[in-house]
Amino acid sequence: MAISEIVQDPSLLPILQTSAETLAQCQQLLALLDPATAPGSSPEVQEVSLAVSRQQKVLFALLARLRGQNRDATLRVRETKQATAEARQEIDRLHLQLQNLYYEQRHLNGEITACESYDHKYLSLPLIPIEEFLAIHPEHRESSDHDLMVARINHEHAEREKLEQARQELLKRKQALIAENKKRKDDLANLDQDLERFIDVSLSRDPLLCTIANGEYQAAKPIQKIFEKEYYNVPAMTGRNGELASSQTSSPAADDVTTTMSSTKASAQRLPPPEKAEAVRTRTGVIAAFWLVIILFGFPIWWKTTSIYRARLPIQEMIDWADGKRLTVYFYVVQACRPVFPLDIHVETPSLPPSEAQHLIRTTQHALDDLNEFSAHHLRLKLAEGSRGEEPYIDGESETGVEEKADTTLVVKLLPEDNLAGPRSELHADTSQLDVFYPPSQVPTFSSSNSPLSSFIAEELQKLFAEEKTTISHIISSSSSSPSPELAEDIGRRLRRTLKYADTYHLAFSLFTPGAEPSSWDIEGAVQEYLTPLLEAFSPISNFSVDTQVQIHAAFAPTAPLPTFDETQAAWTLKKEDLSAFINAAEWPLSPSIGAGPTINFILYVPSPSQAPLVIQGSHQATSWIVPQWGGVVLLNPPLALSDPSPRNPKHLSRESLRPAFLTFSHQLLTLLGTPTTPASLPFRLQTLMRVRAATLLLSASSTMGSLARLTESLPSIPIPATVAASVSTTLAHLSSACSHLREGRFAAALAAARVAEGEAERSFFEKSMVGQVYFPDEHKIAVYLPLLGPIGVPLLVALIKEIKRVVASRRS
């Protein structure tokens, strides 16, 4: 397609023409410049170039024209576009107006149809049909639709008002009728009631009337009249019905008649015949039999099966022992006891003639009696039989004859010695013998009732026995006034430290050390050498078993206060008040030994080298203390082996190094066993201990008896087995025998008896079956019995009460 076909606008045709000319010009130029035809010679070249430049000028001119025409064309296009846009705008505006008009038309059409199709009320009014209306009012036949309608509506309104009025009238009539009806009904009901009443009265009163009533029941009026008449005649008829006289007179009011009539109906039935005497007797017998079975069998069986066995105990006697009545009323009650301590003191006077000796003893006895203010403790001086034979009285011999004779407490040997200013005494450390050295001049003459020698002997004896006396008086009655309160205090403290008496004591010796050394000690040798003699001396009083252990790595309790270093003493010190926390009870194996009897612990503590030497704070550098009723502790600071790098404890503790510790232990043992501190003689102290122990046991057994008696009285539900009763009687027997032994001065026998009494008393008090729990408590019994006893008991009780009432009533009548 050629370009001329596409572009047909006349304004563009010059452009096309010009461009075609330009194209031709260009092609002409190109042909000139074609290298194929390029001229080889220079004139040709020049010619060509001239032609070219000419052609070129033409071409430039053409191009310029073309450009101008192009610009014109472009401007025209713009103009045309502008014109087109304006025209289009105009068209749009007109179109919009047209659309608006269309809408308006449609809306108006819609409104018109709505108005045309509107359904008015008057079209559907319930009026009589137009034909009927016209038949009634023919004058409206000619009138318009509108007038016809108005006339019809008016007509309808009038008709309706008329009908409403009629309805109201009818309603009024109906109500009047209903009221009338109701009134009639009430009348009828009243008549019915009256009739019933009339029938009742007539029936009960007179069969004749009854028949009348029955016969003429329908005739309401006359019967009502009869009824009215009878009604008020009731009081006049009382004479005929004798049984009811009282009730009828008592209720004269007319309204009460009905009630009297109902009661009359009930009592019209007959009462049962009175019970036969036989039946009554049978019933009494049955009830009595039941109660007899309950009382004679039920209660005893119940009592027997639920009661607990309580052996009879001599309660009064037991309480008397505990209260010490047996002690105080000694002179009035024959078998009563009073711990008296008649101490036999044998006086040996190898150098005096018997008569002088007798006199000396008499005067000394007088002096003693004057000095003694504690009546239970009685010193009796006797002249030794053996004194004549000039042989020393040996303590052991008197022990053999203990069955018959009283023990000899002390042997006083009077030895004359020249060149002495005054008498002096000397107590043997290993026997109970007191040597009195005196100048022969002081032997009392028969004439003098007092002499320095006898008063000296009396004072010496008094001094020897002072502690024992105080102790015993303290035991017997702690409130008794003692001569010196300090001594009493001392004794009280000592008694608190003392272990309870036992047959056997276990002695446990333990070596404790915080480190690993020392881990062995020559304990067998130490016990054999330092302790066995003491224990043998104690054998008449108690037995001992010994066990030992070594415990290394035994540290203090973490809560225990640690020792502090004291510069002045150059030692580690423990405070006195911290000593109670010294023993690490949680970790140190200090369990009591197995077997009967308490354990006495003795602890030998070797401090670690870093804390040595360890002493108790204070000036004395003390290293031992007693734990009351438990044992003793000794701190042992052995010489340290100076080895590098640090000093060490010795591996082994020899018997020699244990010596001070064991001497302390034996002293502690004596204290813990209650041995008195004075005098120096051990046998003498042991004898004192025996007497003290006997008194303690006697009192302790007595108080146990009292506690048992009070316990059994205060707890009526605990059983008392026969073994307890047997133990109690054994205790009481041994108590009195111990008492009599004491009275006669046989202390070893008294101790033995008191031991048995104490043991039996403890056994009876701690009898297992007595403290056993009550398996079936009272609440359970009630819970179990109630379902059975409740339903059975109630009829039984009610029957019994009825029967008793009947008997009482018959008695009264």
């Binding site: 309204d255 009905t258 009630t259 109902s262 009661s263 009930a266 009592s267 039935q269 007959r270 009462l271 049962p272 019970e275 039946a279 019933r283 049955v286 009830i287 039941f290 446990a508 333990s510 690993a516 050394e517 881990s519 062995s520 304990i523 067998e524 078993s545 010994v546 066990d547 030992t548 252990q549 070594v550 415990q551 290394i552 790595h553 035994a554 540290a555 970790e587 194996p589 369990s591 030994s593 197995i594 077997g595 591996k651 819970a783 179990v784 379902p787 059975l788 409740g790 339903p791 059975i792 009829p795 039984l796 029957a799």
Partner: protein, 599 residues
């Protein structure tokens, strides 16, 4: 393990008059476990023992033994189960362990069986107090007198040589006893160093009772050397435990197990689903690293050697801590301790400094084949279970498995059953299953059981005792079954937790191989018994009371009531108080009615 045992035997031979030895053996086990065997042994000469001069021998225990006339005592506290399949043979060949709970057996000298039992009761009561265990519940129903199962370890004189009385063996178990820290504390107190020094300082109750398996034992036996020197009384205390190393290494204040961090997970890359966020964890092929302090929660403090005597030099050279790992493995120890490798290339021992702490660290190292080969398979494995159903009857099944292909196993099977479990021995049946064909064949019991000792139970007085000498053929499994009946207990005999079941003590198996014995114990069983409703007696009382009361009431009424016609009764009733009240009420009603009417 046999190494342990031979060591133990060799130690027994070294007897001095009064000495003390302690030893700790550590052996890693497969699956990240560690077996720690503590052994404490001390002697006291017979003379010092009789005179109650105690040095290393604990005084409290010595006194109990003397008081109860006990010559040889074995006491075991055990928890857990030894997993023989993964851990191999038992330590000490099972001679130092007991059944689950508490087990006690002792040789007591007494003139007759009654005296022996009285001493036995004394012994159990005293030990109960000493060890804080319910040993006092070992009464006649839990006490047996085994015939062939136990043999004394000590040297006892012939009974008539020095006028001493014959020995009686008594055995009691408490399978339900829970062993806990309160038993460890008295156990430690018996030691000379009390956990303050030496290997006993490693004991921590939390770790010990957290172990997978643990056993504490106390053995006391008199030993008389062959050379005629003085007899000694030896006490040996041992604690064996299997610790889970991972579990033990958890800090005590934060014991909750944590998952392994991602970067430490070892994944199986061959799994198809393996990716950067999916991992199939592999078991570690390396030995875990651990140290004494980590595993036991404490460090070892010095040496407990109170006897620095010259005669204990042998022991010094031996070393008190031994570790059973191959020599290739690196072990780091605290400075001052001396390591000594043994010739067998599987163990080494350490001699410690007298003071200062000791620690031992094993680094993580690739697992090598040496260790597993060291595990020995047990000679016999036994298993006991209850079969059957219902409240009235049940059955017991015991399975013995002999893994050996060539040797048959002879052993003694001992079982003490409570009296309320009544076995029927005529129902005892044996079945043999070969390892090759796996077909159970029923065989006559006489073919398996060579000897048997049976002591039937007496209700509430003693339990059943059954001892069988058995022989299991090679490569086979023998199953013994018997039926039993469950007794009904009395109302008061039920414990508070009756519905939990009743414990049946483990069976004891004594392997009679060669001269040294080995023991094996099954697990304890729980026997459910028929338990009543415990409010029953009261219900019965109340129901019967009601019935009796009803019967009595009607009979009593029949006997005492008067019979009249109904009309007459009404008339009579009007005269009574009730009748009068009724009449009054009636009249009142009528009056009210009348009033309303007149209005």
């Amino acid at each position: 393990m046999t190494l342990l045992f031979t060591l133990f035997l060799s130690l027994i031979c070294l007897v001095a008059a009064s000495d003390y030895h302690e030893r700790l053996e550590l052996q890693p086990l497969p699956a990240g476990s560690l077996l720690a065997s503590f052994n404490f042994r001390s002697n006291a000469s017979q003379q010092s023992f009789d005179q109650q001069h105690f040095r290393y021998f604990p005084r409290s225990l010595g006194q109990i033994l003397q008081h109860a006339h006990t010559k040889e005592l074995h006491l075991r506290f055990t928890t857990g189960r030894w997993d023989a399949e993964s851990w191999g043979t038992r330590p000490w060949n099972g001679t130092r362990e007991g059944g689950t709970g508490v087990e006690l057996w002792a040789w007591i000298d007494a003139a007759n069986a009654e005296d022996a039992f009285a001493h036995w009761i004394t012994l159990t009561q005293s030990l109960s107090g000493l060890f804080c265990a319910s040993l006092n519940f070992i009464d006649s129903t839990r006490t047996t007198r085994p015939v062939a199962t136990f043999e004394p370890e000590g040297d006892h004189h012939a009974s008539d040589a020095d006028g001493s009385l014959p020995l009686h063996l008594l055995h009691g178990t408490l399978p339900g006893e829970v062993v806990c820290t309160e038993n460890l504390t008295p156990f430690l107190k018996l030691l000379p160093c009390k956990g303050k020094a030496g290997i006993s300082s490693l004991f921590d109750g939390h770790k010990l009772f957290d172990a997978s398996w643990q056993s504490m034992s106390v053995d006391i036996r008199p030993l008389c050397p062959d050379d005629g020197s003085e007899c000694v009384v030896q006490i040996e205390q041992a604690v064996d435990m299997v610790l889970d190393i991972d579990r033990s290494k958890r800090p005590r204040d934060n014991p909750i197990p944590r998952p392994v961090p991602d970067d430490q997970l070892l994944c199986d890359t061959s799994k198809p689903y393996h990716s950067h966020d999916t991992c199939y964890p592999l078991d570690k092929t390396t030995d875990k690293s651990w140290s004494l302090t980590e595993v036991f929660g404490r460090s070892l403090n010095g040496v407990c050697s109170p006897a620095h005597d010259a005669d204990s030099s042998d022991e010094e050279e031996e070393g008190s801590v031994c570790l059973h790992v191959p020599h290739e493995r690196d072990v780091f120890i605290s400075p001052g301790a001396v390591e000594k490798k043994n010739l067998e290339e599987t163990s080494r021992c350490f001699t410690l400094q007298p003071s200062g702490t000791f620690d031992l660290v094993l680094s993580e190292q690739d697992e090598n084949h040496h260790r597993h080969s060291a595990l020995e398979t047990p000679v016999l494995s036994a298993e006991r279970t209850m079969i059957g159903h219902g409240q009235e009857r049940g059955g017991m099944r015991i399975i013995f498995d002999n893994p050996s292909a060539t040797d048959s196993v002879d052993f003694i099977y001992f079982e003490a059953l409570p009296w309320f479990l009544r076995p029927y021995l005529h129902t005892l049946q044996a079945t043999v299953t070969g390892h090759n064909d796996r077909i159970p064949r029923s065989i006559p019991t006489a073919q398996i059981i060579k000897e048997s000792f049976y002591r039937p139970a007496i209700d509430r007085q003693r339990g059943t005792q059954l001892e069988l000498a058995l022989s299991v053929p090679p490569a086979s499994r023998v199953t013994l079954t018997y039926d039993f009946e469950k007794a009904i207990l009395r109302y008061t005999e039920y414990p508070p937790d009756a519905n939990r079941g009743f414990n049946v003590a483990p069976a004891v198996i004594k392997l009679a191989a060669s001269n040294n014995h080995a023991y094996l114990r099954t697990t304890s069983l729980l026997l459910p018994l028929p338990t009543p409703d415990f409010s029953m007696p009261y219900n019965v009382i109340i129901l019967t009371s009601t019935v009796i009361a009803l019967a009595f009431g009607s009979i009593f009424n029949l006997l005492t009531r008067r019979f009249v016609a109904a009309e007459q009764a009404e008339a009579l009733g009007s005269q009574t108080l009730k009748g009068r009240i009724g009449k009054g009420l009636l009249s009142l009603r009528d009056r009210v009615k009348r009033k309303t009417k007149t209005e």
